[in-house]
Amino acid sequence: METEVKLDRTTMPVFGKEANIDIVHAQEGKLPNGIPLYSVNAGTQDVIKVEMIFNAGATQQNKPLIADTANSMLEEGTTKHNSEEIASMLDYYGAFLEVAAYHDYAAVTVYSLGKHVAKVLPILEELVKEPSFPQQELDVYLTNKKQRFLVEDKKVRAVAARNFPALLFGDAHPYGHVTKIEEYDTVKQADLQSFHKTNYSPNGCAIIVSGKFKEPLMNMIGDHFGGSTWKAQQTEASKKVDITPSAEKKHFMAKEKALQCAIRMGKPLFLKSHPDAIPFQILNIILGGYFGSRLMSNIREDKGYTYGIGSGVVFMKDAGYFQISSEVGSDVCDKALIEIYKELDRLCTEPIPQAELQLVKNYARGNFLRSMDGPFSLAERFKHIWLHGLDYSYYEKYVSTLAEITSAQLMDVAKKYLQKDSIYELVVGAKK
């Protein structure tokens, strides 16, 4: 070797200016009966995900736990097959079922290999259209749910998570309602049947298909879900309950002998369509939305008070909120709270240094790219605009805001939304 250039390990290698982020859009279609059908055909693996969305969330129920129980019980028996037979059929084709009920909607999803999807769709159809909610299955389900509730009740994190939304929205509102164990006893078979009849119907239904598939799949979906025999139902407008936040800001719930306190802090915000939604999400990343965030750097990486702390923004149909969550050593709980408030205050009073802002912009851009990777992720990104009545311009706006936003603008957003005295606080742990 003649000349060897010494390797400079102290300077970060120059990295590429990325090209424009190319967002693959979902294709829009419609089944003959009017059900919107969206599809993302991408990826390399022979896999398919079919997600059916229904107007069947907690906001549509007339009493607690009905939406969630109806959704979970779909796989527990139909007019043609019992719970075991349904599971056997899905197992045989290596398919996976996922059911979930949220505040504003419920979803029934199957994951299947492409080669088996023709066999799996009829099972999905049966679950969605003809569940029978057998009494003996319901009894087992509710008994076991109650037991799980008791176990969860021993976890400070779970107790905090269950109780915090009530401070922001009130226990009477579906967004804030705190499930009580007695409520499981009020769930009746007839409630589920009638909820299913009105809420799992073609009106209010949408289907999102993603994966690597061929065109006939769209026809198959049409055959199973697009016919006129599946009748639309009159839905009663669910009764509107006012949002009533707690009068007190600071709350404490005792858990004897807990070694750690669970902390939840936050406040109600705006809808996803609000002009401040994107800037606030960028602010949230800085505060607690990534590993290098201010909360992590201070409370974990500098002080060692916790294994983890983070913050996030949640958008629902009629409201949004922001929250910070962590579990910290019982002996350092007060100190951790002081530091969290200090970090909120700092965002309101000091401009974010240029280097930190640039880092967050780069990180968030990379993260955005990651969140669009693969057919299932693309479908998920589509769902999260569609649910809020937004279109792809939302993501374009996100990328451009990320590029352009300044420290001064972010400080204005902080001042508007993160004033200390506007923050609700819940601590669950041992009494001092």
Binding site: L7, R9, T10, M12, P13, F15, G16, E18, A42, T44, Q45, V47, S83, E84, I86, A87, S88, L90, D91, Y92, Y93, G94, A95, F96, Y111, V140, T143, N144, Q147, L150, V151, K154, V156, K257, L259, Q260, Y290, F291, E301, K303, G304, Y305, T306, Y307, E327, V328, G329, Q358, L359, V360, N362, Y363, R365, G366, N367, L369, R370, D373, G374, F376
Partner: protein, 417 residues
């Protein structure tokens, strides 16, 4: 099927490359061949604590995370009894940043006192959060202790006790680094929108200059064959009684593993599984029950765990489990049962290969276990297991003299009775 190419640097670093152009991202996974099983019994929890310290700054780069985030990347790591594994993903255009970062912390850490002090506290909080301040959390401290008498699997990855973590000092940290964190004790897997030539060039530039080390040859005491059933009763402040039964079984790459994994599926995976139908739905003795293997590289455990329904005694629950297990020892499972378990396993594998991160991680792990190509033989190995194989393996494993049983009793209930 994951296509890959493999090469080894002069310093012994093994490199595997998987190209997937359907993504704009790249993943870099580095596996170090050291886990909790390699620890000094008096200084347990060290491999995991060390993993935290790997983020506390390296010799030329003060802040790993900061630099990676700058390049739009994200990373994490995990430690288990067998390995320590670091992984990151970033836009493929910034791949070199990953090489710069990972090679610097393989070269040397900064060994900052502040980082050690803080990460000791962080890990102690993690210990509390996952094991002590969690209902049933200490099962994973007590059960391995009961099942293993000589092999280091007897302690959990996080450490036998908090005091071991409290007492970790800088000379231990340095010693551990020099012993295990060298190129010839690591496997690098790169996946995503990359080319083999590009990865080769980056490896030559960033990793080749790191000198090889002298990682110790692993000589772990083999666990003696268990000949008598073991039992432990714990009373804790939990709402519901629970039972855990741990049977010694084969290692990850043994045929035994594939049979026992499928048996676990037959028994408790899903609403049509045997124990779920019989014990949860029909007899209503359990609110939940699950069977699984620990997937450990050395001979491991087949575990059945269940939470009891109101009014069922631990003794009756234990008996009911044994009765179900007896059935798989006395007669072959049905053809359809095994077929379903196989189909589900195959499908899971295909779904897991959507993610370039999973692919990189799998390739690295299988390279350590005997060759990256083994990653592509998994489905075949599962499919080869016959009803007879399952019966033979179950008869070998399912035996009370080969079992450690933990009764986890609710204190409130014990007082109430």
């Amino acid at each position: 099927m994951i296509q890959f190419e493999r090469f080894t640097l002069a310093n012994g670093l093994k490199v595997i490359v998987h190209r997937d152009t359907s993504t704009p991202m790249a993943c870099v996974n580095i596996l170090y061949n050291v886990g909790a099983r390699d620890e000094d019994p008096e200084k347990t929890g060290f491999a995991h604590l060390f993993e935290h310290l790997m983020f506390g700054g390296s010799i030329n780069i003060p802040d790993f995370d900061n630099a990676l985030q700058q390049a739009g990347g994200e990373n994490n790591a995990f430690t288990n009894n067998d390995i320590t594994n670091y992984y990151l993903s970033l836009p493929a255009t910034n791949l070199e940043v990953a090489f710069w970062l990972e090679s610097d912390r393989m070269l040397s850490l900064a060994f900052s006192d502040k980082s050690l002090e803080v990460q000791r506290s962080v890990v102690i909080e993690e210990y509390k959060q996952s094991y002590l301040n969690q209902p049933y959390g200490d099962v994973w401290i007590e059960l391995p202790k009961l099942a293993y008498k000589t092999h280091p699997y007897m302690w959990p990855t996080i450490g036998k006790e908090i005091d071991h973590i409290k007492h970790a000092v800088m000379p231990d940290v340095k010693g551990f680094f020099h012993k295990f964190y060298c190129p010839n004790n690591a496997i690098l897997a790169v996946s995503g929108n990359v080319t083999v030539e590009q990865v080769k060039a980056l490896c030559e530039k960033w990793f080749a200059p790191i000198p090889a080390g002298n990682p110790p040859l692993r000589k772990l005491p083999a666990e003696q064959k268990q000949t008598q059933s073991r039992k432990l009763v714990l009373e804790r402040d939990v709402p519901v009684d629970a039972i855990y039964k741990a049977y010694h079984m084969g290692a990850r790459m043994d045929q035994s593993f594939y049979a026992m994994e499928l048996l676990a599926d037959v028994l408790t995976d899903g609403n049509a599984s045997r124990m779920y139908v019989e014990l949860v739905k029909n007899k209503k003795m359990f609110s939940e029950i699950s069977a699984f293997t620990m997937e450990s590289f050395d001979p491991g455990l087949f575990i059945i765990s269940g939470k009891l329904s109101e009014g069922v005694t631990l003794e009756a629950a234990d008996e009911a489990i044994q009765e179900e297990l007896k059935k798989v020892v006395l007669a072959q499972v049905k053809k359809e049962e095994l077929e379903k378990a196989k189909n589900k396993t195959e499908s899971q594998l295909i779904f897991s290969e959507i993610s370039i991160l999973n692919k990189a991680m799998n390739l690295a792990i299988f390279e350590l276990l005997g060759g990256a190509e083994e990653a592509n033989k998994e489905t075949e190995k599962f499919n080869k297991v016959s009803e007879v194989d399952l019966l033979v393996e179950a008869s070998r494993v399912i035996n009370e003299n080969n079992c450690s049983t933990l009764y986890y009793r609710s204190k409130n209930k014990a007082n109430g009775n």
